[in-house]
Symmetry: C2
Subunit: 305 residues, 2 copies
């Protein structure tokens, strides 16, 4: 059974202190699928674009064994566009433009051959759409869900409804604090898990990530990068690497979830090293494995005998 | 040869959302020494107080095998006092009062029996005083130095001078960025090590700590505390645990430095669980070792075979 990915697809214009890129391939479903494609395939992809969506991006996604039968291409429609500018420290970004276009009336339709999906990764989109995806599935076994402050603030009730149905929630630290109304992350995590997801991942950017599973807490380091070119898509890429690895191994034990968090972090570190999806386009499994092992060196210490 | 600790000694009044404490034992030398005392002793302590300094604190320090021959007690002098208020999220604090008192004219005098010290921990005080300490020592082998934004901004030249003479600098992430004028921590670390200290530790509060040694980077997790009662002294306590463990083991290899960072983090986690120095007063080595091992569980992951 394939991994089902649902989310946004867009054309991003990004300015950083180092360079800029226009109408680059973007969107949560894109980053998730590309990252997951290094672990498993075909990826069952559901999203929407206009017929202005460049053919070269279709080719790129298909080359990564991403099945686009669920990609709606709207005739005479315009693809979702986003533009943003990162500041020198790359932690702050200004949104310059958000044009929803065809995304505004997106109704995810899951093709019949995708409906038996056992593993699902719901990219960061309106929780109403995330719920609509789940309604169309036969009996998903493992649902990973991403969200953001925009939905926490604007669609709290719908978000709480989807949280009851998912196995894993992935959010960042400020979103966790916002969702739980609690500044202490450990307490916030407890409260969020009571909302539904038995597994919670809190991403902390340059400080790594925390995984909460059963009665365990796992602290994953961040990869020490001297140069971050473009942070766009790092969170989606994390989700894709995490879910892709779990789909590949079909092992949901806490120990394997820890490895999945490291694979997610490894993929995100490749993502931010280049503009847009460039860092995810030409990897191979050995490079991913090498980076996984670098994470191990980074955090390993052994007691003196 | 004993571990030499030089720094401030004070009486702290601290308000947190949970409670308050008045004229509690405080100061960088105090926290460093108490933390180090669980690893090694006697601790050779150098600092200054007025004759209003409560006898019970002298007794407490001495009970931890801290040799106070280097503690100047100024007749008719008033001990350094600090008051601060922490906000609900405990990451922000307002300084309500800083009365230097006898600390204003402090000239550290190292008693002859302390001058042969091989291991030295310079607590966060004026870099001019830190330099004066080093001038009085025969041939220190391993010097750990703490500092803060106040000296980075106000005494940069003197700070750069002391940095050339120390082996380890311990600072927090915002101080590292300030000192190097560089938002990326990994690049900032490189630049700071070029200023002198071959070993650098960047503390990141709730996000753990980074150790830079030789060509290695080690990422230490933070202990996941649901309740932080009082963050005062956590950084000094880290430095004390770190240096105390290294003094005990006399092993300065990168692998052992990693363990020292974890012991420093473990001691800091005990510190913030109670008000003032209370969390450091009644520990024993087994509890410290248990916490060290909890840190190991927190960050450990193993590759699937």
């Amino acid at each position: 059974m394939s991994l089902l990915v649902v989310g946004s697809v867009g054309l991003d214009t990004v300015y950083t202190p180092f360079d800029k890129v226009e109408d680059a391939l973007g969107g949560s479903a894109t980053y998730i699928s590309l990252a997951a494609s290094y672990f498993t395939g075909p990826i069952h992809f559901v999203g929407v674009v206009g017929d202005d969506f460049p053919k070269k991006y279709i080719t790129l996604l298909e080359a990564h064994n991403i099945d686009l039968d669920g990609l709606q291409i709207i005739k005479d429609g315009k693809t979702f566009r986003w533009a943003g500018r990162y500041h020198y420290d790359l932690n702050v970004r200004d949104t310059l433009l958000t044009e929803l276009n065809v995304f505004e009336s997106f109704k995810p339709i899951i093709p019949p051959k995708f409906q038996k999906a056992q593993f699902v990764c719901l990219g960061n989109i309106d929780p109403v759409l995330q719920l609509r995806v789940l309604e169309q599935l036969d009996s998903p076994k493992f649902i990973v869900c991403d969200t953001m402050n925009y939905w926490i603030e604007g669609k709290k009730d719908e978000l709480l409804e989807i949280l009851k149905k998912v196995n894993v929630l992935i959010i960042n630290d400020s979103e966790a604090r916002l969702l739980a109304h609690e500044p202490n992350l450990i307490r916030a995590a407890k409260m969020i898990r009571q909302m539904g997801p038995e597994i919670l991942i809190i991403k902390k950017g340059e400080h790594g990530a925390l995984l909460f599973v059963e009665d365990q807490i796992f602290s994953a380091p961040a990869y020490p990068l001297e140069m971050i070119f473009d942070p766009t898509g790092a969170g989606d890429t994390f989700a894709g690497g995490f879910t892709g690895y779990l789909h590949k191994t079909q092992d949901l034990s806490p120990d394997n979830l820890k490895c999945a968090v490291i694979y997610g972090s490894a993929m995100a570190s490749f993502c931010v090293e280049k503009f847009s999806t460039k860092g995810l386009e030409d990897l191979d499994y050995l490079r991913v494995l090498d980076r996984f092992r670098e994470f191990r060196k980074l955090s390993r210490f052994d007691e003196k005998e």
